[in-house]
Symmetry: C2
Subunit: 439 residues, 2 copies
């Protein structure tokens, strides 16, 4: 499937008028910096200019390419596939109007033509794909930064929203695929593919329902053995399952069965959209973390909130060794608490944070660290960010800087160095929970 996510050439089919889907995808591919060959095709010919580049629009495809992206009216798709089949390896069919509106016959025809030419299909009725490390943005969705997360989404709108929110959350992506009706390739194929993709560190899957449960379980197990797979299942409630069935045509099935399958396969199931991001952020940084957590904070309240959540999630507050406590006592001001959560009090500066992190990190009773900072007016958040980056520690460190404008500088600095911020103590605690599920 490399021809989908690392293509060397692509042909686009559709209208290239202002605002049309094919034109928007062409724009995204060009602006994204794709270095392979790009061919625009429309029977009307002419030219199209996007992002300062002019493309001749060919009236038909007349050379071999890795990939076709198709956004022509549904009824023309099967014959187009039949026509260009000998020239392509795969096709992403954006066009809607197939089984999702009851046109099962048209979808069968599409697949028949594809099979005839051994062409693999993503879609139809999908939002397209990104191969981020190939700088290939074959979708009209918002472009994203390169990183380790492969996002597989049955819902195009969910996928698009998740990409835009991922940008805000500082997530880096390896790939995105919206697979729509899954007429040919489906979630199981993508799970297996990204399990073996070396740019992918973690996989996130939004799924409403699958057709072949056994195959799905196998694919999920295969992928989960190689890397973290985060799953958000929609259609868990009675009304939700009905709604899912009506808009994708897939049977959501009993949630209990899915839930058991997720657990059996070793996947990380999250309960809601925001958790999907938080888990993705955690796994982009670390493959796993043990259950014994040390909390380091400069303010009592947030430290208590983190502690409450960690315990509720079944994690342990690490019991610090006598040696660690003695060492902390030797350099921390007497008002600081050297019990876990370790309270460095409001005026904690670079040196106090750095030395505490290094001291605690050496303790054999500690698996991971949760570092909280609510910067007081006289300590810039950049200073504490720098301390976290400079501290010599080889264990997972999850960071919660609060809040808003007060920590913008510090969060920026951390993110530039690959440390993602969790905006509340509880979200940081949950990140450690998910990491612990892989240890």
């Amino acid at each position: 499937m490399d021809f989908f996510f690392y293509p060397s050439s692509v042909a686009l089919f559709g209208s290239f008028r202002e605002g049309a889907i094919a034109r928007e995808i062409l724009r995204n591919i060009v602006e994204g910096g794709f270095e392979g060959k790009i061919i625009a095709v429309n029977p009307r010919g002419g030219t199209v200019e996007v992002a300062g580049k002019t493309f001749e629009v060919r009236d038909r495809l007349d050379e071999a390419v890795d990939l076709a992206i198709i956004a022509v009216p549904a009824r023309f798709v099967p014959s187009l596939i039949d026509e260009i089949g000998p020239l392509i390896k795969g096709a992403v069919v954006i066009s809607a109007g197939f089984s999702e509106v009851g046109n099962d016959e048209l979808e069968r025809e599409l697949i028949e033509k594809a099979k005839k030419h051994k062409v693999r299909i993503i879609g139809p009725n999908c939002a397209g794909i990104f191969g981020v490390h190939a700088r290939f943005f074959g979708s009209f969705e918002v472009r994203v930064k390169p990183g380790g997360l492969a996002l597989i989404s049955q819902s195009g709108a969910f996928g698009g929203a998740a990409l835009a929110m991922g940008n805000e959350e500082g997530i880096g992506f390896s790939a995105f695929v919206s697979y729509g009706n899954a007429a040919d390739l489906n979630e199981s194929d993508f799970l297996e593919y990204f399990a073996d993709d070396e740019n992918t560190k973690a996989i996130a899957l939004y799924v409403e329902g699958v057709r072949d449960g056994r195959r799905f379980l196998n694919a999920l197990r295969y992928a989960s053995r190689k890397k973290p797979v985060i799953v958000l299942k929609a259609g868990k409630s009675v009304s939700g399952a009905k709604a899912a069935a009506s808009h994708t045509g897939s049977l959501a099935g009993s949630y209990e069965i899915y839930r058991a399958a997720f657990r059996q396969a070793g996947a990380i199931e999250v309960e809601e959209m925001e958790e999907l991001f938080d888990a993705a952020k955690a796994f982009e940084m670390y493959p796993k973390a043990g259950r014994r957590v040390a909390v380091i904070t400069n303010s009592g309240g947030p430290g208590v909130l983190a502690t409450d959540r960690l315990e509720k999630l079944g994690l342990e507050m690490a019991g610090l060794s006598e040696k660690t406590v003695g060492e902390l006592r030797s350099f921390l001001p007497p008002q600081c608490s050297v019990k876990n959560p370790i309270d460095l009090i409001a005026d904690a500066d670079y040196e106090r944070y750095k030395r505490t992190i290094e001291t605690v990190c050496k303790d054999e009773n500690v698996d991971s660290l949760l570092v909280i900072c609510v910067p007081p007016i006289f300590v810039p958040s950049r200073e504490v960010a720098r301390a976290i980056l400079d501290a010599n520690c080889n264990k997972p460190v999850i960071v919660n800087f609060m809040a808003g404008e007060l920590v913008r500088d510090g969060v920026e600095l951390l993110e530039k160095e690959g440390i993602k911020n969790f905006p509340t103590p509880e979200r940081a605690a949950r990140a450690l929970h998910w990491l612990s599920l892989r240890s």
Copy 2:
């Protein structure tokens, strides 16, 4: 207590050097636009310039003011209160170094002097107060927009972080009080006060532990009868309770007792920091909402996620009347789903949203609406925002626009008109859950 939150004059005590606490508070008061009298006091005299205004620093207070804000070293506070007691009604003691570090005797002395002069005390060891509608920002924390939320926080750092995050979430505040060691006035006093404050529509309380449980329960019940009271209890877990006890000196006590008290008093208990904001946003807009929700969306996936969460929270997906269904059918394209969740599909524009909201709002089986929009490239989010604002509907409408940069314009427009956005379907669903607890 109006002299705290609507003062006509204030005196500040402390150092006015660059970076000093008293200077920062003075700056905040001046920049915030306080129109009352401001007096700076320090035995060394001199002048201080903040925000382009120069103040003479008096060597002692020599006229009556409503309020003193005190940030001098702890050991000088009792004698200062004794000296200025006849001239002030209340004092906010920012200074730390009292019971929270074992100096119980000094705190007792402070209260003794205050009682002698019938002066009420907030603090010591606190971050100060805001009376937002009086443009009085008597704290070094980030200033906030005027609105309906009164935030009462035992933890100063939590309070400061919550104000900054509140700004990002579009929350408007009526007041803020960090009450620190609660040597005199405590959470119960503030609950009672804000219950009767006409600018306050909802109260949010962060609490670790209270000393007088019976009084607290009464105050909470009194306030909850008048307006929504959102409570975040920290120190729920064993380790969390211990940590809370060590940094505030208050006994966290058994969480089960607190939980029962919250329920008995009719307070809205939230589980974590982010939920506090979401509940506050909901209650700033609406006092309550019924349990039968209609979901209107332009994308299936997010509609399903909202549905799942609503049902899990015990809300009902409203069963639309035949009349409503017929009316929707009459103007919606055939691909749209007119069952709840109502799917307007991706190209839903101003007219489709507005008419659907109005049609559904008239249905007697519907108590409240959850409106979701993931704008496709060809429909600007402002257009849908405008439809929501223009729609004639007198029932609570909770909005979930996704995501990030895609909806910035629309969210801005909504917020300007007082409609707050919830960034995920699940958070929007939870907002309706909290509203339903008051109905």
